[in-house]
Each structure stands twice: as C-alpha cells, then as structure tokens.
C-alpha cells in the first residue's frame, strides 16, 4: 500500500523534542495567549483560540480513534452535536448548570457511540467509513426535525452554564481557561491511553488484526471501548461549543463538519495527538484568513486539500520532520 498523507507522521520513536517539548510549547502558547491578546489589543484572538481549542478536543479524540485504532470515522461531528444539544435542550427546560449539563452531554454521546458502534464495528474498511457517515447524517436529520428545539434554525441558549450555581464561565477569559484545561486533560488522557495496555492492543489491531486474534485478543471489544471513549470526548467538545457560541444548530453535526474534523487531524499529522491540535489551529486560522479575503474561500481550500493529499506526506509534522532531516543532511555536507 503506497504511503499516505496519514501514514508517515507517526514515527515509532519520535525524538524527545517532539514528544515533550512541542506539546509543552503548544500549551504554553495557549496559556499565555489571552495576556498577549490583551497587551496588543487583539481581543478577537481569544475568540479564535477558544474556537480552536473547542474543536481540538474533538480532533484529539478523533486522532485517537483514527491514528491509534485505525478506525476512520466520518461521523465524528455527531458526538459534538449530541453534546451541544444536551446543553441546549437542558437549557430550554431551565436547567443551566454544568454539573448536570456536562455529564449529560458526555453520557448521551457515549450512549450513541455504544449503540452505533455495535453496528459499525461489525464492518470494516470502506463499509465502516460509510456507516459512520450515515449514522452522523441520521442524527443530523433528527436534529433538524426537532421543532421545539429550533429545528433547522437552531436554538439560542440563554446563558453559559453555571458551575454549581455560580456564573464562573460568563467572562470570555474565564471560559477560555476552562476550555484550555479541558483540552489539556483530554490530551493527557489520550496520551496515557495510547501508551497503556489498552492502547497497545488497539495499535496492534490496527497493524495486524489476524496476528492479534491468534494471540488471543478480541479486537472488536477494544475498538468498541475506544469508539465510546472517543464519542464521549466528542460530547465534551459539544458541551464547550454550545457554551462558547451560546447557540446550538444541526450544522454542528453535518457531514461537512465530520469531514473537516478528519482534515484537521490529518493536516497536523496523524497519530501524534498534539498534531491534531496543530492541524485544528491551522485549519481554522486559514479558514478565517481566506474567508476574510473572499466569500468563496472553499474554491481555494478544496484544491489545496487535494494537493496536500497528493504531495504532503504525513501532514505538517511530517513535512516538518522531513525539513529537519534535509537541514541535518545539508549541515553534514556543507
């Protein structure tokens, strides 16, 4: 099988720099960003970075599923949507506290992941991709037909969730740091998962299912658990999205959204987890920038994606690694 955009980023023994310094740098930058934004009077940066972090939670989770488990889910946005609608529906009924909304969002998403996962995981390859796509579409249509909750037009949320009654998330900066903590927790959790016994079985199943079976592992069971975990984290992302925008809409779970999530994951470099954060940032920043230039930014972005797939192996981290190798060789010869 020819090399892919996805395959070459996940170096089995990435140097210490990549494993620790780069992620640490990312989170440090994110932590300091609001201060820098205030100093340079670029308040919109905080909004943009919040959006990046919200989607990055979902992207990191998806990277776990795709990069670690080899399961290409094209319906990941469904979990974001479910989490968001959990917040929205509860809010419409007067329940606005995160202590209720957050667990509800995550559990609802995990439940959907469990029910659909049981079916999806009986298939593989191209079937799997399409079934996840179909289930995502199903939830999308269910949301559009929920007339009391806005249907097609979506639902505005009165206010951000309170935490134990206190409006801690009201200020944008407070919400920013709350989201940052969620992202950090997601990242660390996923990282631990990848290195754990569970993660190792998952990775083994991705490389050679037959061998894993003849060793004694029922891979499907592990894949289902991974799918449920990923779904739950998607629900977390949805909770954050609903609170960030104070609005929920079926568009959150459109298949275009699912596609964008996959692109975000691949763009950074599949299988590295922090690559997903970088990919999300790049995607949203480029989208922001291009749409400022022209309304038809997708006309430019679409072909860029195609070219990236055809020529940029391993996403940005892969390209970065190649550059580094080139420079190292150049130094040796020069």
């Amino acid at each position: 099988m020819a090399s892919t955009l996805a395959a070459e980023a996940a170096d089995p023994e990435p140097p210490r720099t990549r494993r620790i310094i780069l992620p640490a740098a990312i989170f440090l930058i994110l932590a300091l960003l609001p201060i820098a934004a205030a100093l340079t009077h670029q308040r919109y940066l905080v909004d943009l970075a919040t959006r990046v972090m919200v989607y990055a939670v979902a992207a990191v989770a998806l990277d776990l599923l795709v990069g670690c488990g080899g399961l290409i889910s094209f319906g990941h946005a469904a979990f974001i949507g479910i989490g968001a609608y959990a917040v929205g529906i509860l809010s419409a009924h007067g329940i606005g506290d995160a202590l209720v909304a957050l667990p509800t969002a995550i559990i609802a998403a995990m439940l959907f992941a469990w029910l659909t996962g049981i079916v999806c995981l009986r298939t593989k390859g191209v079937y799997f991709i399409m079934i996840t796509l179909a289930f995502g579409q199903m939830i999308f249509f269910v949301a559009t037909s929920l007339a009391p909750y806005g249907g097609d037009n979506g639902l505005t949320i009165a206010a951000r969730n309170t935490i134990a009654g206190v409006a801690l998330l009201k200020s944008d900066r407070a919400f920013y740091y709350f989201t940052l903590i969620c992202l950090l927790a997601t990242y660390l959790f996923c990282r631990a998962l990848v290195a754990s016994r569970f993660g190792r079985v998952l990775r083994g199943g991705k490389e050679n299912t037959t061998r894993m079976a003849t060793i004694g592992f029922t891979i499907r069971r592990f894949q289902l658990v991974a799918y449920i975990i990923t779904g739950g984290l998607g629900g977390l992302s949805g909770f954050l999205l609903a609170n960030s925008a104070e609005f929920v809409s079926p568009a959150y779970m459109s298949w275009q959204q699912s596609g964008e999530l996959i692109v975000m994951v691949i763009l950074g470099g599949l299988g590295t987890l922090h690559g997903a954060i970088i990919g999300t940032a790049v995607y949203l920043v480029v989208e922001e920038w291009l749409s400022g230039i022209t309304e038809n930014w997708q006309v430019i972005f679409g072909p860029l994606l195609v070219l990236a797939v055809l020529f940029a192996r391993g996403g940005l981290l892969g390209v970065g690694a190649k550059l580094r190798r080139h420079l190292a060789e150049g130094d040796g010869n020069g």
């Binding site: 099988m1 020819a2 892919t4 955009l5 996805a6 395959a7 795709v66 290409i72 094209f74 659909t116 049981i118 079916v119 009986r122 298939t123 390859g125 191209v126 079937y127 991709i129 399409m130 079934i131 796509l133 179909a134 289930f135 579409q137 199903m138 249509f141 269910v142 559009t144 037909s145 929920l146 007339a147 009391p148 298949w255 275009q256 596609g259 996959i262 692109v263 691949i266 599949l270 038809n296 997708q298 006309v299 972005f301 679409g302 072909p303 860029l304 994606l305 195609v306 990236a308 797939v309 055809l310």
Partner: protein, 307 residues
C-alpha cells in the same frame, strides 16, 4: 389515509428509488472495481442537473439538452478521473476521503460562482407535462412515470451489459479481483476509466432527469449521496443487483415512512406528540433499517464474491 394517497406515495417511492439506483450504480461499480471511495460522486449528479439547465437555456430543447449534458457530464467525469482520481487508486481510503472531500468543497462553490446561489428550474419537456389517470381517482405526473421507466430501462440495460458483454465480464471480474484481471493482460487503466466515466454518466443522467421536478441548487448532491452510500452498503459493495434491490427498498421505506409516520403513530399516541415525534422517527427509519441489515449481514445483502 386513502388508498389512492397510498398508491401515489408508493409510486413516489419507486421514483425516488429508481433515482437512487442511478446514482448508487455508478458508486458501487467504482467501489467494487477500483476500491475507490468517491465522495464527489454527488457532484456529478448536481452537475448533470446544472448542465441540463445550461444547455436548455441555449437550445430550448430538452432532448438536445439531455444529450449534450450527458456528454458533458461524461467528459467532466473523465477529466476528474484523469487529473485527480487515478492518482488515488493506490492510496488508502483515508487519503481518498480527504481528496474527494476537497473536490466537493471546490465544486459546490465553483457551481455557485458560475451559476449563482439561487435555485434554478428546468421545465418538464412538453410531451410529458401534466398528469395521466392511472385508474379511477389516481392521477400521477407523467414525468415521474418517465423517470421510473427510464430508471428501470437503465437497470435492464446494465443487467444486459454486465451479464452478457465482454466488458461486463471484466467489470465483474475486476470487482472480485482487480489485480488478477490486470495480471491477465487486460488494460486495467482503460477499464477503470470506462467504469468511472460510465458511473459519472449515470449520476449525471439522474441529475438531468430530476431537474424538471426539483430546484437545482449548489450542494444538492450531498444529501442524496449519503443515501446512495446507504443503498450500496445495504445492497453490498460491488453488486449492481444489490444496489437495485436496496435502492427500491430505501426509496419506498423513506417515502412511505415520511408520508405516513404521523398517521401510524397516531394509532398509538395523541395527535400532538405524534406530530412532533413522527418526522424525527421517519428521518431515522432508513438508518435503522441499514443498522439492522448490517447487524445481520455485515457485507450487505448481495456482496460481490471475494469481499
């Protein structure tokens, strides 16, 4: 719920099913023979409709527009194959998904640039306007009957092609083992091109036929594409017969479900909650059907042998 209404919806379901088949047939062939996941297939359908509108605008004749649009759709499909897709056959599915996703983004917006975002219309060809009376009290639009007939005709043609011609045999062989077919000396590149072009034409044909009765707008291919995916997953990837059965099944279940969900629910609950829950359940119906079929048969109803 009268029986005429029921029959009308059955016919609508058949018409929808036939449309789905036209799109799904090309998709399942491309999957089956090239193992290529083509998200951009829905764009071919959309382009067929737009091209028909464009050519009709020039020549004021539906038949001319039909032929020209078909040829243009074929040409465009081959162009896409040549420029992009043939470089992706050897890549893994993830790459194919992303590349074709990029193409959708591009083409959906390109169409908007060329033709504008406002929905366009195409008049039903004069000979087929109006409704005819199929039986007492049952009037049905002629054009929809034409679509059903055309779809069944294409299905029959495909059946003949695949079962009785040399190229059909190659397609069937390629569906089960493309590497072997290539090793036997068949020009696999040309076979792929043929399959892809033919599939694009089928999708374009569907778009042309449906244009007179729906509004032609950017992004019209996306929803129906996903339904086409459901069709081929239920029918079995690579199987035209499976696509046919599944398409009609889904067309009927979806149409009848949407029309009568509220009525059926009212047998069990009060009108108000029925009206609320009905549409939501109806939209889930075909996916639940898909889930059930796949749970029992993970490779679909008629999987092409060897998968």
């Amino acid at each position: 719920m009268s029986s005429t209404l029921f029959l009308v919806q059955v016919l609508n379901g058949l018409q929808f099913g036939v449309l789905l088949f036209l799109i799904a047939a090309g998709l399942t062939l491309v999957f089956g023979v090239m193992d290529f996941i083509n998200l951009a297939h829905g764009v071919q359908y959309m382009l067929g409709a737009y091209l028909a509108v464009a050519f009709y605008g020039v020549f004021d004749n539906f038949l001319v527009a039909l032929v020209l649009a078909l040829l243009a759709a074929l040409a465009f499909g081959l162009l896409l194959e040549f420029l992009v897709f043939r470089h992706l056959y050897a890549r893994d599915h993830l790459d194919q998904v992303i590349a074709t996703f990029g193409i959708i983004l591009f083409l959906n917006h390109a169409v908007r640039l060329v033709w504008g975002a406002a929905p366009l219309t195409l008049p039903v060809p004069e000979f087929f306007t109006g409704s005819i009376s199929l039986m007492a009290g049952l009037h049905y639009p002629v054009w929809r009957l034409v679509i059903i007939a055309a779809g069944l005709g294409v299905a029959a043609l495909l059946y003949l092609l695949v079962s009785f011609t040399r190229i059909g045999m190659l397609v069937r062989a390629g569906s089960t083992n493309a590497a072997m077919v290539s090793a036997l000396g068949v020009n696999i590149e040309r076979l792929f091109m043929f399959v892809f072009g033919f599939g694009s034409m089928l999708a374009g044909f569907a778009g042309i036929m449906i244009a007179p009765i729906i509004s032609v707008e950017p992004g019209m291919g996306t929803n129906i594409l996903i339904l086409a995916f459901v069709v081929i997953v239920i029918g079995g990837i690579g199987s035209i017969r499976g696509a046919f059965v599944a398409a009609l099944l889904i067309g009927l279940v979806d149409t009848l479900g949407r029309s009568f969900s509220v009525d059926i629910l009212r047998l069990f609950m009060a009108p108000s909650p029925a009206r609320m829950v009905g549409p939501a359940l109806a939209s889930m119906l075909i996916y639940v059907l898909m889930a059930i079929v796949l749970y029992v048969r993970p490779s679909g109803l008629f999987p092409a042998r060897g998968r």
